[in-house]
């Protein structure tokens, strides 16, 4: 997490502390290190601050995942909100320790897959997103994001040639670097199925794109997925 994000999280954590009258001020460090599972459990009991902290913590992962499934940054931002609104709706679900983020990926997969239905369900909520403030127009940033969209469109053109279940596994494992176990949890399928689908997807994409660019990214860790 970037320093700015850490500050954001600290602010929200202090809100969590204030909200819980039983908590002492000296426990702020402990609150800061709260595990996802703890935040999820608090969210399940209706703690909106804990859930907002969870959002801040994982917004970027889900935002990028949605972008890589949809191909437009602006739509991905709305999808991000929908994913967390949907997660809040299903906050009663019990999640094993360490599986909150994989489950959020699974929720995002469903949101992206049923995009129209999700947008229809949360249309009213999305209409209440405040208008963007006058941000400085950073030309380079805009150009870079446009370039992202052009590149991901080409990747998605290739991806859509796969069966849908293989698309999900491929994006989660190869593009998002999720472990097989986490991908299996996200998609609610056995690990063996993840392996076989990923293997089939890779073989198919190798035929279409022998250069292997379909798995290339600018982050070095992407290579890890290729080696698995």
């Amino acid at each position: 997490m970037s320093p700015e994000r850490t500050r954001e999280a600290r602010t929200l954590a202090s809100v969590v502390l204030r909200w819980n009258p039983g908590s002492a001020v000296g426990h702020e460090r402990e609150e800061m290190e709260l595990d996802d599972s703890v935040l999820w459990a608090r969210s399940a009991s209706g703690d909106a601050d804990a859930f907002t902290l969870l959002f801040t913590r994982h917004a970027d992962e889900i935002y990028n995942y949605c972008f890589r499934r949809i191909g437009e940054w602006s739509v991905a931002e709305d999808a991000l909100s929908i994913v967390f609104l949907e997660a809040w709706r299903r906050r009663g679900k019990e999640l094993p320790p360490g599986k909150v983020l994989p489950w959020l990926y699974g929720t995002a997969t469903n949101v992206v897959r049923n995009r129209r239905r999700s947008e229809r369900r949360y249309r009213a909520a999305l209409s209440r997103v405040p208008a963007p403030p006058s941000e400085p127009d950073i030309g380079e940033e805009v150009v870079a994001r446009l370039d992202d969209e052009r590149r991901i469109t080409r990747a998605l053109d290739l991806l859509v040639k796969l069966p849908r279940d293989q698309q999900d596994v491929f994006v989660l494992c190869a593009w998002t670097q999720l472990s097989y176990e986490d991908a299996a949890f996200a998609l609610d399928i056995p690990v063996g199925t993840v392996r076989s689908r990923l293997s089939r997807a890779r073989a198919f994409l190798e035929e279409l794109d022998p250069a292997g660019r379909h798995e290339q990214g600018e982050t070095p860790s992407t290579e890890g997925a290729l080696e698995r």
Partner: protein, 300 residues
């Protein structure tokens, strides 16, 4: 081939936007908390209401074999039903007096499924005078009759459209309608002192009347067990009105052989019993006589 990578880099959501989205999310989830609960409550109430309607609408008269369901308001009457209502007399005044019925507003009030018979559908239509007409009984155009009931005999018919009483598929029904608001059930009393009860299905305004359908069981076609009268009772069992005409119609129909025979059927079993008993007595007497003759002849 270009060496350009397909996948764009991982990018953070700009801080201002993230903050705005976080605030929005928090506002929505705190705003939506009671809404979700409200939706669940509405859903639960809807399920309860549906259950109540399903429990309230069945008529128990046909030994729980009939299911009555209100039809949707959007249901429009077919031309046959409209024509039927247009031709109905008013039920008061000289014959041919227009009933003032509004055929276009006819609706299915209840539909009954009778095993071995089929379905019985009741159409009702309001009249301009505040009354109603129905396809079962006729018109109560000015709401002058408090309780009306009639007899219907149905089943296979001969070529001249008369019911065939000997057929096992003949069904006898009592149909009734009442405008007595507290009426909850119709009671059918029989010659042997027993009675049976059927729930009245109330149709709301503009009809504002209750209807019932009762299939007379074959056990009550026999002499000594036939119906005597019909009455409507309130929820506490207080009698509100009584009508013996349909029971009289049934007995008359039996006498004129339009309804299933009662006397013949009821005599059939005793006659066979008498014949069987006589045969047994004769056989026993023959056996005794034969034994006496054998003894008289000196045999051991």
């Amino acid at each position: 081939m270009s060496s350009e990578t397909f996948l764009p880099p991982f990018r953070e959501l700009p801080r201002a936007r993230l903050s705005r989205r976080a605030q929005h999310l928090r506002a929505e989830i705190t705003r939506d908390q009671p809404v979700w609960v409200g939706r669940k409550r509405v859903l639960a109430l809807a399920v309860l209401a549906l259950g109540a309607v399903l429990l309230a609408t069945p008529a128990f008269g046909l030994r729980d074999r009939i299911v009555h369901l209100f039809a949707a308001d959007e249901q429009h009457p077919p031309e046959l039903i409209r024509r039927y209502f247009r031709n109905q007399a008013s039920g008061f005044g000289p014959p041919g007096t227009p009933s003032g019925v509004m055929p276009g507003r006819a609706r299915v009030a209840l539909a009954a499924s009778v095993p071995g018979y089929g379905s019985q559908v009741l159409w009702v239509a309001p009249t301009k005078a505040g009354g109603f007409c129905s396809t079962w009984i006729g018109c109560n155009a000015r709401r002058t009759s408090r309780f009306q009931a009639t007899l219907m005999i149905s089943g296979p018919t001969s070529r001249n459209s008369q019911p065939m009483p000997d057929s096992p598929n003949v069904h006898v029904f009592f149909e009734g309608q009442t405008i007595l608001r507290p009426a909850a059930s119709a009671v059918i009393r029989f010659e042997d002192g027993s009675s049976d009860r059927v729930r009245i299905v109330w149709v709301p305004r503009p009809i504002d009347a209750g209807f019932f359908l009762y299939e007379l069981p074959k056990a009550h076609w026999k002499v000594g067990k036939r119906p005597v009268a019909l009455s409507v009772e309130g929820t506490k069992g207080n009698r509100l009105a009584r009508n013996s005409a349909p029971a009289r119609y049934f007995r008359e129909a039996q006498m004129s052989h339009l309804a299933p025979p009662s006397a013949a059927e009821s005599n059939t079993t005793p006659l066979w019993s008498i014949l069987a008993a006589a045969a047994a007595i004769i056989a026993a007497a023959g056996l005794v006589v034969w034994r006496l003759r054998v003894r008289g002849s000196g045999r051991p």
